[in-house]
């Protein structure tokens, strides 16, 4: 009998949880197929199928699903609601399986297990157990696979924290981060949702461009989780959405620590939560005049040249300012 193939689209949650899911399915004896990097073709497919008003990461996700749908027996699009008991994910994540199911024709069955840790201590395990039983695996197999998957995931997260990019960390899970040749003389915080910061097609190779400009990049993943959890941001309540909450905390951390030379917010056109996150960051930046702040807005028309110009200008400005600083004292 041929092995069952499960497809995991290479967008959105992929950048954070792919190693976990891949190991989990592999240990159950199931093949995992992924749609690989975002390409122009994938994006175009997505833009055609998805609603015009949706944000570009969702359109990209549609593209990835379309690339996968004829190659796999199941699509894995879990409904990730809440993983930390405090914040939920963006409403588009909450309705993601439904959006896909009701707007794309000819899909294989979708595994849309709901993951919400607020419903009980064992909710997450229950979700994986249910996935396992749907694929014909018993409790022992699921428990063993999940514990292995969690070990892999833990290692992956440590690598991300050490400054690896997701692709590097997935490719060589044991290596330390690669050095990039040139010695960076500036450090920028590049903040944004993982699927915007790490998708090098979507953001037109922003991280790579910064490396070439001799800038060291810190992302929200490089801020120690404990530090992040203890950071406050002066709103009467927490932002409701996990990624936005993290980004805003990281921004406040970086601004207050003052160790970075500049902060770039990678925002997505038409993103609802970002409208609040970005405004809050802007207001915070006003209080810290020493750290320049820039918002880069990405959408399906983001072009290389325009972004390069903006990054070069920003970097030049920051570098000149830094060189001038000792003279001004």
């Amino acid at each position: 009998m041929a092995k069952i193939r499960v497809g995991i689209p290479g967008a959105l949650m992929y950048y954070l949880y792919f190693p976990l899911w891949q190991t989990f399915f592999n240990e159950l004896g199931i093949d995992v197929v992924t749609s690989g990097r975002t390409t122009k073709e994938l994006l175009d497919h997505g833009v055609r199928e998805a609603l015009a008003d949706a944000c570009v990461p969702i359109k990209v996700f549609f593209g990835h699903v379309m690339a996968l749908k004829d190659k796999v027996d199941f699509l894995f699009i879990p409904r990730v609601v809440c993983l930390n008991r405090l914040t939920v994910y963006c409403p588009k994540f909450l309705g993601l399986p439904d959006m896909i199911r009701h707007s794309l024709p000819g899909l294989p069955p979708i595994i849309d297990e709901r993951m919400d840790v607020r419903t009980g201590r064992t909710a997450l395990f229950g979700a994986y157990r249910h996935i396992g039983s749907c694929l014909g695996c018993n409790l022992v197999q699921v428990a063993r696979s999940l514990s292995r998957a969690r070990r892999v995931q833990g290692r992956y997260h440590r690598l991300l924290q050490d400054g690896c990019l997701p692709r590097e960390a997935m490719a060589s899970p044991r290596n330390a981060p690669m050095s990039h040749g040139q010695v960076p003389d500036l450090t920028f915080g590049v903040l944004g949702y993982p699927y915007a910061v790490y998708d090098d097609f979507l953001n037109a190779g922003l991280l790579e461009k910064l490396h070439r400009l001799k800038v060291k990049v810190l992302t929200a993943d490089n801020v120690p989780p404990k530090r992040l959890a203890g950071q406050s941001y002066g709103l009467p309540k927490r932002l409701f959405w996990t990624f936005s909450d993290q980004v805003l905390r990281a921004a406040h951390c970086l601004f207050e620590e003052g160790k970075v030379d500049g902060i770039i917010h990678v925002s997505v056109f038409g993103c609802g939560p970002d409208s609040i996150t970005d405004k809050m960051m802007e207001l915070k930046a006003k209080l810290h005049r020493g750290i320049p702040f820039m918002t880069v807005m990405i959408d399906e028309h983001t072009g290389e040249a325009g972004l390069t110009t903006r990054l070069e200008a920003f970097t030049d400005m920051v570098r000149r300012r830094k060189e001038a600083a000792p003279c001004l004292k």
Partner: protein, 375 residues
């Protein structure tokens, strides 16, 4: 004495004005959102914030210019971002140099003490508990009266003989209810207002279509935000039924009878099992219910970049196919103009009317649509 202002949603401001006055606050009445209000809001809001945030910011700024120092508004627990708007408004206003007292009512089950503290803070007249309760009850009955006459106007307008009669009668009816103070007076005013509206000369034989309106609450409730869509539709000969009123009266009373006990949530679950915040799931559920009740079409209204409604919008074409009901969506923002909207509405209404006429000439009534889930 606080100088209080609050968000303006439709005609409900008349009731809130009464409530705040009774509690001993001075009310700075929010002006009807105009182009100027919106421009003011747009100038200081984040670009992708939704229309309600921009309009409200403009409203607050206008009220501040008129001397307001306190904003009373509602909160929320997400995942719709409207729950964070009070905090964001406060920050933006502070950044502009206006330190406002924000009184934000969160759902009382989360922080009951905070809720009570805020109620007490607003009680400047030091009313007794009993009097407080009476005051709230009275203003609630006023909101309900206002909702009822608005609902009535939606049913009368498409049949009016002389265009504009209903608008004039409705404006007078609103004033009548607005001026009523005691509980009895409100009841009497509501009755008189109803008679006034029913007295509008009508042509009951006219071919009309029935359209349900679903979507995000603020753009549904504030006519200035949806460019008086209900009025436009009424003049095109459309009986409008809005899925949402401030009192939520429709859902609790009429719907359970007419749709075999199916609630909005039940109707939406086959399509969207998760609560996604805002009114996304309601939009899907209401569309199904309207189809079951034999409506001719559904219009979805949402502010641009509203996430829950985008999710709903992605699912609605499927609902439309399954239940054979046309759905038209408007994403509203500061660029939306009335002429373009009217053209789209006219085309939509023409199509619905033609379909209805064809069916009538064929001597058949529209067959009960059969929903099929996951076919």
């Amino acid at each position: 004495m606080f100088k209080v202002t609050f968000p303006r949603m439709g005609q409900s401001y008349l009731a809130f004005q009464m409530l705040m006055n009774d509690l001993g606050n001075e009310v700075i009445l929010p002006a009807r959102p105009s182009k100027k209000t919106l421009d003011l809001g747009v100038q200081y809001s984040p670009e992708f914030a939704c229309l309600p945030l921009k309009i409200l910011l403009g409203t607050y700024l206008e009220a501040i210019a008129a001397g307001a120092d306190t904003v009373v508004t509602s909160g929320g627990v997400g995942p719709c971002r409207a729950g964070l708007y009070a905090g964001l408004h406060e920050k933006i206003l502070a950044d502009l140099g206006h330190r406002m007292r924000m009184i934000v009512f969160e759902p009382p089950r989360l922080r009951p003490l905070e809720f009570l503290r805020q109620l007490r803070l607003l009680n400047q007249a030091r009313l007794s508990l009993r009097a407080y309760w009476e005051v709230i009850k009275r203003s609630w009955s006023k909101v309900r009266a206002l909702d009822n006459i608005e609902k009535l106007s939606h049913h009368i307008r498409p049949f009016e003989l002389k265009r504009g009669d209903t608008n004039r009668a409705y404006a007078r009816a609103v004033t009548m209810v607005g001026e009523a103070y005691s509980a009895d007076a409100i009841q009497d005013a509501e009755r008189a207002a109803g008679e006034l509206l029913r007295a509008v000369p009508q042509d009951p034989t006219r071919l009309t279509v029935k359209v349900g309106i679903v979507g995000e609450i603020y753009v549904l409730l504030e006519p200035a935000a949806n460019l008086e869509m209900e009025e436009t539709l009424g003049h095109l000969g459309v009986e409008v039924e809005r899925s949402m009123f401030l009192t939520g009266w429709t859902r609790d009373n009429t719907w359970t009878e007419t749709t075999h006990g199916l609630t909005v949530k039940d109707a939406a679950i086959p399509y969207l099992p998760e609560l996604i915040g805002g009114h996304g799931r309601d939009s899907v559920g209401h569309t199904v219910l309207y189809a079951q009740r034999g409506f001719d079409g559904v219009i979805q209204l949402a502010p641009f970049s509203c996430i829950p409604e985008i999710v709903a919008r992605t699912i609605l074409p499927r609902v439309s196919r399954d239940w054979n009901i046309p759905v038209l969506t408007f994403f509203l923002d500061e660029q939306t103009a009335k002429a373009g909207m009217t053209t789209r509405l006219e085309a939509f209404v023409d199509l619905m009317k033609r379909k209805k006429e064809t069916l009538r000439n064929m001597g058949t009534t529209q067959t009960q649509p059969q929903g099929r889930y996951f076919a």
